[in-house]
Amino acid sequence: MAGTIDLSKFKAKGQETCFHGRHIAPQIYAGLDGSNWRLSDYVARGGYAALSKVLGKDGGSGLTPDEVIAEVKASGLRGRGGAGFPTGLKWSFMPRQFPGPKYLVCNSDEGEPGTCKDRDILRYNPHIVIEGMAIAAYAMGVKTAYNYIHGEIFEVYQRFEEALDEARAAGFLGEHVLGSDFSFQLHAHHGFGAYICGEETALLESIEGKKGQPRFKPPFPASFGLYGKPTTINNTETFAAVPWIIRNGGQAYLDCGKPNNGGTKIYSVVGDVNAPGNFEVPLGTPFPELLALAGGVKGGALKAVIPGGSSAPVLPAALMMDCTMDYDSIAKAGSMLGSGAVIVMNDSRCMVKSLLRLDYFYMHESCGQCTPCREGTGWLWRIVDRIEHGKGRLEDLELLDSVAGNIKGHTICALGDAAAMPVQAMLKHFRDEFMYHIEHKTCLVKQSA
């Protein structure tokens, strides 16, 4: 600790990223101001009403687990962590009748470069995650859950612990939740610096107290997960969407997005924009509108956007400006919505230098388990490094493509793909810039920073 030294003036208060009033029809970030994160505030906003409804403690007859899952299926909710897998379907894979322990895990290991949305959910609205997890646990017959929180946001981990204490004291967690037959305990677990632990099976290994090295699949976590027991893992934002769905119905959620892309999504708009921040907007919002919420491009014209966290293929400005912000539109343009981190780059940015930094990251964070990734990420970095420093050769472009192609699809987990995709997309859309670097030993663009 910095101990008794008060560093609070250097800390973000959330005005820029969350309480800016520039969300569109927000559900998760609605009504937050930074001071109203406690249980009493959450209840005053209608919190824990969905859990009461499910358990029949609101005067109604309650929902069966199947009814909860059906509602989530009807909502069209897709996993907000990156893969976009339908949440209701994932929940239906859990063998509810399995005798013995089953587990539920929240993936708050938010480390995908560009992404900072879950941090604001956990800081400013932690109970929405607790409520969402309790409902999910009820639907899947789970009694024990863990929330795995990125080690670097330790202050958020401490706040979540505080929120858990409040929920236990109020009877929303523990034996006989709200006097029902449903018992549920939730604990916080922190990481300590490993990007790979955002991969769900690496995360499970990490909770088990081991190195975070992904497991070979199958078996999938639904049959062999934490401690070898059936386990479901969802992202923080996914759980946070659940209470609204239960209160308002799946159809209402679907209606506020677009077909196959229901609900709101939180985008972290970062990089070359005038007002970086998190913006919760309905899925399907046109990209130019989102860009305007973030104050527009800073320092020049729009050159490129990495639309879903650093692992997503880069898209040039013209393609991006035609996209709407949803899974299908971004996929059609050749990239992916991923975690919803939108990294904006202006026309002073050198793509070789940008890729070099990303390649260093993947090399650094490769867990070393699979040879194509462990060795290949190093190759990628070294080749781009020599191009950046004026020592590249024209055949390096083919070599980059070939190394990336030999990583992709040849590793246990998606980190290999995540390292390869940015390389291939950069070469596809900005090949001229790489060629110029090799031929002239300098940048095509004049860098502003």
Binding site: A12, G111, I153, Y195, K211, S268
Partner: protein, 162 residues
């Protein structure tokens, strides 16, 4: 190495989160507590944590050496991790690192001669909209670290007692 009763109480709170036969799950938290109290995780501390959790010392060392944030050697009174990943780089994260290193007279990953500061470039801290960001002693996230704010921070830390 013997842990104090207070430390053991902190360990026990972590162990209680997991099934009785899965004490190893608390290893990350226990090592983070050790680092919080002692500044780094020595091999003696690894062995003591291993004994406490009933796991082989090498399994504890695997954890210490795998996760980026564990200090395997002593660091300065203030460990400053400056993010230089792409979203921060686009908002002068690399320059922030250079400014800190220059003012303190250390190379990246270095510690000042007086043992006050260790400076490390680091990967994504998960606060990209606050860029440039940095982490002080693993726990305090500092945001919007412009050159002026960096200078002010270093003034504050240099003047601080203890």
């Amino acid at each position: 190495m013997n842990f104090s009763d207070a430390t053991l109480a902190r360990f026990a709170k972590e162990v209680a989160k997991y099934p009785a036969d899965q004490k190893q799950s608390a290893v990350m938290a226990c090592l983070a507590i050790v680092q919080h109290e002692q500044g780094h995780v020595s091999s003696e501390a690894e062995e003591a944590v291993a004994a406490y959790l009933g796991m082989p010392p090498i399994a504890v060392h695997e954890v210490t050496s795998f996760y980026n944030m564990y200090n395997q050697h002593a660091v300065g009174r203030f460990k400053l991790n400056v993010c230089t990943n792409l979203p921060c780089q686009l908002r002068n994260g690399q320059k922030a690192l250079e400014q800190v290193c220059q003012r303190l007279g250390v190379e990246p990953y270095g510690t000042t001669a007086d043992g006050r500061f260790t400076v490390q470039p680091c990967e994504c801290l998960g606060a990209c909209a606050d860029a440039p960001v940095m982490l002080v002693n693993d726990r305090e996230m500092l945001s919007f670290m412009t050159p002026e704010r960096l200078d002010e921070l270093l003034d504050t830390l240099q003047k601080a007692q203890g």
